[in-house]
Symmetry: C2
Subunit: 99 residues, 2 copies
DNA sequence: TAAGTAAATTAGTAATTGCTAATATTCTTG
DNA sequence: CAAGAATATTAGCAATTACTAATTTACTTA
């Protein structure tokens, strides 16, 4: 159990960041290129965005594929989606989308 | 949406700690006094346990009541339970208990 | 090959976290 | 009130985090 708690805490630490949540919410709607994400999330600088994406990918939450000079990120671990749905259901007034 | 992400990140930060998860998992099974928790979670010192409980209470996740010199903590925000159930379902091989 | 765009990386820094050790508070019992 | 138990609080420190600024790498097009 202690191991499980450690694993869960690690995962939650990855989720526990406003900008990463915004990135994930955007990617739940569908795959996006880095620059596409950048347009949707103008408060995150290019560097920060890239670092967040790398972290999410390192934890197996995202996957990426390259096409030309664009890199498209998508949700790799779909369990995350349900976690976020539950969080949204309870802590965002039941809303699902942002616009 | 940004506000919601900020709120969710704040909540997740509280959850994103191994010892706090263990405390919550124990309290999901039922209310416990501080010393009762201490016995179940011998890896957490008295001081650390108290600080974690205070943090969880400050965020409205726990409630406490005093009886004599014992203080009993319990889950106040039951939405947390479903969040933890979903996490456990997906990230702990579907197990529910620890003993 | 030069110029431009997309994305990643690096170094540095301020803020936050989680702990320990020590002390304080609160209650109970004699 | 003194002694002991249950819990909280405080100060301080090492580790981690999230960011910015600058640079670099990889690709495309002319």
């Amino acid at each position: 159990m202690e191991d499980k708690a450690k694993k869960m805490a690690r995962l939650l630490k990855v989720l526990a960041n406003e900008n990463r949540l915004l990135i994930l919410c955007e990617l739940i709607r569908g795959p996006r290129t880095v620059s596409g994400l950048g347009e949707k999330l103008p408060n995150i600088t290019q560097s920060a965005l890239s670092q967040h994406l790398a972290l999410l990918k390192a934890h197996g939450i995202l996957d990426s594929s390259k096409a030309g000079q664009n890199i498209t990120y998508s949700i790799a671990d779909h369990r995350i989606e349900e976690v976020i749905f539950v969080l949204r259901k309870h802590y965002c007034g039941g809303e699902e989308g942002e616009g």
